[in-house]
């Protein structure tokens, strides 16, 4: 657009000597769209200069246009008009006007054209934008539609071809001749112009018709002047010159700055900031153009956006103003986007960046909340109201420009250096990627979504870009209600992962965890599909058999006559439309998309598991994902999946965390359809047991170990603690199923061992909490603390055996509890004491008593995280307040820990009062530790435990 602006600045009106010449259609559009088609055709044979020539052959002059517009409604009248007369008119006008037009505007137009051409070429060639070509066609059709005959189109093509072949200087006459020869063309054009009411979808048409009207598009305005200048039909001699001029201008057009001088093409170039390489070639033409310009000045047309062409305007200002205007009134000003776009593809990097960002903002604001559909031929042919016309015009313009923008963005990314980490945040490529992300995030419904996804997924291999893209995908997945975007995205990402040889960032795989189908889909949905497949096959067989035996109508649809079928068809159509208008995401559609998505997700997971190296960072991510989606894994995968799992479990190189994930995944898978057959996962228990043993023996991270650097100071456990965290998670999972008694015992013993070996009080507390839960759930665990003589088990405990079956844990003596009752941390001491007390045979007497309830283990890590406590030492008063909430307790007790300790000390006491007190103290301690005990329960407990005031009866008795 900038170029255009420049032109108009020179002339005061952008009168281009050449117009969309070949577009004999009568829609001489210098606009990108019109030019596209011819450009496409020519391309293979011609250089860039050629497209310009085509454009030059335009036939309509300003006056014609005006005339047409004025008379637009009287199409019939027009039909009666003598073609020759009309054609003559414009030529005369041209002659008159010629002195005015300056080559500069032409050049601008030419630039636009060339840009468009480039883009078209890209589009056609690049696989990225699959839809683009279609859209082009669409648009083109729009432009061509109605008024033009196909023959004319062909003509255009021919013209293009001839132009391409011929010298630029000499062959203008040919062009003219062709036009003339066609004879009908001018008339056609005229008529088409008159008919243009119908065509208004096209910018060209709009432009032609809108000279007078104030609400015309900017584009249209620009286009008009261009059209007006050259009239090939009128003057044969002059036309060649014209042709030349535009070409020359075109070559220059790539220059970011607008040429100022009207007459002198060369001068203009020199002046411009960035001379284009092609300039030299076109000098001859320029001269010719200059001469022409002198002869035929174009009429300056007042345009509302002419001020943008002001020389004094800084390019950045120009961008800003153009964008501002588009946002203010997108429907009429959308064409201004073109101007900004020129800066984007220009050479000045700074302007390009600004243009990129500004355009992004514009598109974010302007893009409508619906997807723009192609207009069918019928729709285009329909007569529509002015408003609708305007809207259609807006849509097509927006679409074309948006597409160009996307292509430009993709090109920017492609241009970035290929080495690792080469793209920094301020780089063009990075900006472009962010722009893609923003567009996808904000308007995932809009056209070209697939192209954006494709462009992004291809960049997933670049570590410096992964973060942004993954964040975007996550966002898109979360918000995607329909499931279609997710399904497309997942497909492309899966492809990218596979294509990258499984060497991508684990974050990419983890992003699948945010898919909505995790919650929205059930196993039945997955199975339904499988079941649906089966009966259909059987049914087919049955049908085939039946058919072989005797052909009957049985099993087929009941007989329907033609009329009924027709009406049914119509009914279906109506229903479909109704559905669309409802705009409700149909459940079935969503599930269908989900199913596809899920397929790709699992495919990726399985591929990685089988294809990637064992120590690949992807493996933990994949296992995490599998355990998340475990409830959706079909039973048909079990066998191969478990085989892979076992090979992983047997591999000593696989990390403990991964093994634990496998165990949990296996359990989750089985908790769904696995219920059909209750499996005993001995190997998996064994792994868990072995890993727990490793954890107990592993050197704990030192207090000031900085291995949490990667976590950004969050409270998430790290190192051994992280593994313990996972192990406890898995333990929970495992214990949900029915596990053989010796294995439970073995796991319990190992767990206690881990708790004694851990250094972090949070970890210790978490282990103890889990242990407490286990003792509550499995009564037989009490025997572990019995004296050996009281135990049913015989033999010896094998502490070093990694098989829980062999370990003979029933014979173990977990003295670790005793150690923990002397732990340095008071809370741990209290908890250990509580558990021991509960496990002791003495406690068996009070079966009615509440089991020890510690905090859920998951909270323990955060609560007793010592890194946090190093930084932040809690105020004791607050802790006390929150812990000893029991009514009337505060004053009596210093802290729950102290009370628990006292309870332990009191253990030897035997009197009734002591017992009660002990119980009370004990409960107080546990309650304090567990903020999750409901208030009600607390009240209950405290009531029960509070020493009863002397009962009334007693008093009565006494009194009596």
């Amino acid at each position: 657009m900038a170029k255009k602006g420049a032109h108009s600045a020179k002339g005061g009106r952008p009168a281009a000597p050449r117009r969309g010449g070949p577009t004999a259609n009568g829609k001489p559009n210098t606009n990108g769209k019109t030019s596209k088609k011819p450009a496409d055709k020519k391309k293979p044979a011609t250089s860039f200069a050629i497209p310009d020539t085509e454009v030059d052959s335009d036939i309509l002059s300003d006056e014609d246009l005006q005339f047409l517009e004025d008379n637009a409604e009287y199409a019939q009248m027009v039909a009666g008009i003598d073609v020759n007369a009309i054609t003559k008119k414009p030529s005369k006008d041209k002659l008159k006007k010629q002195p005015r037009p300056k080559p500069a505007p032409v050049a601008a137009a030419a630039n636009d054209d060339s840009d468009d051409d480039d883009i078209d070429a890209k589009i056609l060639s690049s696989a990225i934008i699959a839809e683009s070509s279609d859209d082009d066609d669409e648009i083109h059709q729009d432009l061509v539609e109605g008024s033009e005959d196909e023959g004319e189109d062909d003509m255009d093509a021919d013209l293009d071809a001839t132009l391409a072949d011929t010298d630029e200087d000499g062959d203008m006459s040919e062009l003219d001749e062709t036009n003339i020869d066609v004879g009908a063309i001018p008339s056609d054009i005229e008529s088409s112009e008159f008919d243009s009411d119908d065509e208004d979808d096209n910018r060209a048409a709009a432009s032609s018709s809108d000279d007078d009207s104030s609400d015309e598009d900017d584009d249209l305005r620009y286009i008009k002047p261009l059209k007006k200048t050259p009239r090939p039909a009128g003057s044969d001699d002059e036309e060649p010159d014209w042709e030349k001029t535009p070409r020359a201008v075109k070559a220059e057009a790539t220059v970011a700055k607008l040429p100022i001088k009207s007459a002198d093409g060369r001068v203009i170039r020199v002046v411009s900031d960035e001379p284009v390489a092609a300039v030299a070639d076109n000098e001859d033409e320029n001269e010719a153009a200059a001469a022409q310009a002198k002869k035929k000045p174009a009429l300056p047309k007042p345009s509302p956006h002419d001020d943008l062409d002001d020389d004094g305007l800084h390019p950045l200002e120009r961008i800003a103003q153009a964008c501002q205007r588009v946002i203010e009134d997108p429907e009429s000003n959308i064409g201004l986007v073109q101007r900004v776009h020129e800066y984007l593809v220009g050479r000045n990097a700074q302007y390009a960046k600004v243009a990129l960002v500004s355009l992004l903002q514009v598109y974010l604001d302007v893009i409508p909340g619906y997807r723009i559909h192609e207009l069918t031929e019928a729709q285009k042919a329909e007569k529509v109201s002015k408003d609708v016309k305007k809207l259609r015009n807006f849509e097509s313009t927006l679409l074309a420009n948006y597409q160009k923008y996307l292509v430009a963005l993709d090109k920017k990314i492609k241009e970035a250096p290929a080495q690792r980490g080469a793209i920094r945040e301020a780089d063009m490529a990075y900006l472009a990627v962010t722009a893609f992300c923003k567009l996808l995030q904000t308007h995932p419904h809009f056209n070209f979504r697939l192209n954006i996804l494709n462009a992004l997924s291809k960049r997933l291999t670049r570590t410096e870009l992964v973060g942004v893209i993954v964040d975007t995908l996550r966002d898109v997945f979360r918000r995607d209600e329909e499931g279609q975007v997710s399904s497309e995205a997942v497909r492309l990402v899966a492809k990218a992962i596979k294509g990258g040889g499984y060497r991508c960032d684990p974050r990419v795989v983890r992003v699948f965890a945010h898919l909505r189908l995790k919650h929205e889909m059930t196993l039945e949905d997955v199975l339904k599909k499988a079941n649906r497949g089966k009966p259909s096959a059987e049914a087919r067989k049955a049908a085939a058999n039946a058919a072989a035996k005797k052909p009957t109508r049985k099993g087929k649809d009941p007989f329907v006559n033609k009329k009924q079928r027709k009406s049914m068809k119509r009914q279906l159509e109506v229903e479909k439309e109704l559905k669309e208008s409802e705009a409700v995401v149909s459940l079935e559609d969503r599930k269908k998309h989900h199913r596809v998505t899920l397929e790709h997700v699992f495919l990726t997971y399985f591929r990685v598991l089988k294809g990637a190296a064992r120590d690949s960072p992807l493996i933990p991510a994949v296992l995490e994902g599998l355990s998340l989606f475990a409830h959706l894994i079909s039973i048909e995968f079990f066998q191969s999946l478990f085989a892979v799992f076992k090979s992983y479990l047997a591999d000593p190189n696989v990390r403990a965390a991964s093994k634990l994930r496998i165990v949990s995944t296996a359990h989750r898978v089985l908790s769904g359809q696995g219920q059909l057959l209750n499996l005993d996962l001995a190997d998996f228990y064994g792994t868990l047991y072995a890993v727990l043993g490793d954890l107990a023996l592993r050197v704990p991270a030192s207090l000031f170990d900085d291995d949490d650097a990667g976590h950004g100071g969050s409270n998430a456990p790290t190192g051994v603690d992280a593994d313990v965290h996972i192990a406890l998670e898995v333990l929970d999972e495992v214990l949900k199923r029915k596990v053989p008694q010796p294995i439970v015992t073995a796991l319990f013993v190992r767990l206690v061992r881990v708790s004694a070996a851990a250094t972090n009080p949070g970890t210790v507390m978490a282990c103890l909490a889990t242990a407490a839960t286990m003792t509550a759930k499995f009564g037989f665990l009490r025997t572990v603390l019995d004296a050996p003589s009281d135990r049913p088990a015989s033999g010896r405990f094998e502490p070093y055996a990694d098989d829980p079956q062999i370990a003979n844990a029933a014979a173990a003596a977990p003295y670790d509890f005793a150690l923990l009752t002397h732990h340095w941390h008071p809370d741990v001491r209290a908890a250990a004491t509580a558990i021991t007390h509960d496990l002791s045979p003495a406690a068996l007497a009070h079966t009615d008593r509440a089991r020890p309830r510690l905090m859920p283990w998951t909270d323990c890590f955060a609560r007793w995280d010592w890194r946090a406590s190093l930084r932040w030492v809690p105020d004791w008063e607050t802790i006390e307040a929150s812990m000893a909430e029991g009514p009337g307790r505060k004053n009596r007790r210093k802290s729950p820990m102290a009370s628990a300790k006292r309870a332990a000390e009191d253990d030897d006491g035997d009197g009734k009062a002591t017992k009660r007190k002990r119980r009370e103290d004990h409960l107080a301690g546990l309650e304090g530790l567990n903020p999750h005990v409901s208030a009600e329960r607390k009240r209950k407990l405290s009531q029960r435990n509070r020493p009863k005031p002397p009962s009334k009866r007693k008093r009565k008795n006494r009194s009596g």
């Binding site: 478990f642 209750n678 499996l679 996962l681 001995a682 008694q741 079956q805």
Partner: protein, 178 residues
């Protein structure tokens, strides 16, 4: 009473390995109390070494049994596991089958384990391998041989046989007169 010959050991261990796999070593190399196998009157006994040494001085005719009987060699040289080996097999069993309460009695009367009675099964049990049969509260009831692998078991109909009966604790009562 004598140690097993090479052939006998091979036959015996092959049989045993079907049930407990590599855990045979656990049976013999017990760190607390080394054990060994001894043959006496065609029966194989699992004996602690100290007991074995003390038994040496008892004459063949006078010695009725020692340690735990694992089974006996038939006249044709095959080996048959006896129910008395159950405790040791159960401890080290590689593959297990749990029967539901309604399947306990049928099994204890010498019937095979049906699919309908199957409570749980080790996850990757192959075909024709030894399994120890437990009830749902993990008390060993006997042992048998699988008819199908775990994955095939899934598709079988309820009346099909999952494991063939070999021995069960009911024999202690049924065969008391022998």
């Amino acid at each position: 009473m004598r140690p097993l010959t090479e052939d006998e050991t091979k036959t015996f261990f092959e049989k045993l390995a079907k049930y407990i796999g590599k855990n045979i070593t656990q049976l013999i190399d017990r760190p607390d109390d080394p054990h060994c196998f001894r043959l006496h009157k065609d029966r194989v006994y699992y004996v602690s070494e100290s007991l074995m040494r003390r038994a040496v001085c008892i004459g063949r005719d006078e010695l009725i049994a020692l340690g735990a009987c694992f089974g006996k060699f038939t006249k044709s040289g095959q080996f048959r596991l006896a129910i008395t080996a159950l405790d040791h097999l159960a401890q080290y069993a590689k593959y297990k089958v749990w029967v539901k309460p309604n399947g306990e009695m049928p099994f204890l009367y010498g019937n095979h384990v049906l699919k309908a009675h199957l409570g749980r099964i080790s996850d990757d049990t192959p075909e024709h391998t030894g399994v120890v049969v437990f009830n749902m509260s993990d008390i060993p009831l006997g042992f048998g041989v699988t008819a199908k692998s775990t994955s095939e078991t899934r598709k079988m109909d309820p009346t099909a046989i999952v494991a063939y009966h070999q021995a069960d604790v009911g024999e202690y009562i049924r065969s008391i007169e022998e």
